[in-house]
Symmetry: C2
Subunit: 221 residues, 2 copies
């Protein structure tokens, strides 16, 4: 633990920081497109409505400090952020459920640009087993454990009906995935040591509907 570089890289960042870093990255790509070469925390702060000292603190996790009066070099900061966030490394993943949402995610080339490499899909529907979506082959559930081992898969993505979410999560955890990305509204539980990330887009809808009905009662009722 004396090697500072190593410590920095594996630091468990506070989640709010981790959620702000992609904002900075998105803003930087806008600047690069506009051929801006240097950027100050003050200007990032204005654009994103984040406190400048918070930005400096967040970026210091990357070991990068801006130059006085000049600020950060846009290209260098952008690639440091991409590297730090893991977007430049490949993470092999398996898609559990190749129905509507699963197929949609397999088709989203954006995930690949952010380091997610979906190498296989699993479904129970005999009509789609054996077919390919966006170059990704769909297998039956019995093949899942073997594929996870053979293809060095570390992430399992769950896009199955809610009723099957926990069972599928257990299958993934037992087969040795290190992280589960859950797109169902189910709360899933797995043994310690497996990272769970929830992106329940339908739950986000519920939050949005509630905010809408509060703001615009006449629209909603």
């Amino acid at each position: 633990m004396s090697d500072k570089t190593t410590i920095r890289h594996y630091d468990l960042l506070p989640e709010p920081t981790l959620r702000r870093l992609p904002w900075y990255l998105a803003y930087l790509s806008t600047l690069r497109n506009a051929s801006v070469e240097y950027i100050s925390t003050t200007r990032i702060a204005e654009a994103l409505d984040v406190d400048p000292s918070q930005i400096a603190k967040d970026l210091s996790f990357l070991g990068i400090r801006g130059k006085t009066r000049i600020g950060y070099q846009v290209d260098a900061l952008e690639s440091a952020l991409r590297d730090y966030l893991g977007f430049d490394r490949h993470h092999n993943a398996i898609m559990m459920g190749a129905g509507s949402l699963g197929a949609a995610l397999i088709s989203d080339s954006g995930l690949n640009r952010y380091g997610l490499n979906i190498v296989a899909g699993i479904d129970i529907n005999p009509d789609i087993i054996g077919s390919s979506i966006n170059g990704v082959k769909i297998y039956g559930i019995d093949d899942a454990s073997r594929l996870i081992k053979d293809l060095n898969i570390i992430i399992g993505i769950i896009a199955v009906p809610v009723e099957s979410a926990q069972e599928v999560a257990d299958t993934l955890a037992n087969a040795g995935v290190k992280a589960i990305w859950n797109f169902t509204p189910s709360r899933i539980r797995v043994k310690e040591g497996v990272v769970i990330s929830n992106t329940s887009i339908y739950s986000h809808l519920a939050v949005m509907y509630n905010r809408l009905s509060t703001l615009n009662p006449t629209q909603e009722q």
Copy 2:
């Protein structure tokens, strides 16, 4: 404000409660499939690892109370939850950006089952303007404001490249949408009175990668 039903319906629920309600709903659909008729908070609590008193409190927002020793009637609680969460009402939406992610979301029939009715898509690519995805017609950007008014669209979904996210958000807000669902990693800002909901799936990836590298340093480096 003397009508209790109305007050309850438009209460701004705490977000943690709003995020748990879909868990209960997902669990209830599992039970219904298994023909379970009644359920206690204790059993829900065990299944979801949520404190029973918290569950009772969350459900009391819906004005539903369980019967002593019997608990909640599964069907009734499920439909009360769906209704309360807004999943049974139609919310007209426009998809801004019909590229990889936008097209994927238009194709996801799950959103429709949760009350989101995507009635039009917008893109700048002349090759797809005029085409249809999953029955949803794609228009050019100049048609956006007119469509929002004509089709009574209250939600704008943003799935454009990060560089254009803010500009598209401004277009939506000016055209009168009441809520913006932002799928880009950009932080967008709009005038007060417009609900913003962020589902930055790429940011969720960053959080997951960081947790992975912390848990499994040898896997990741």
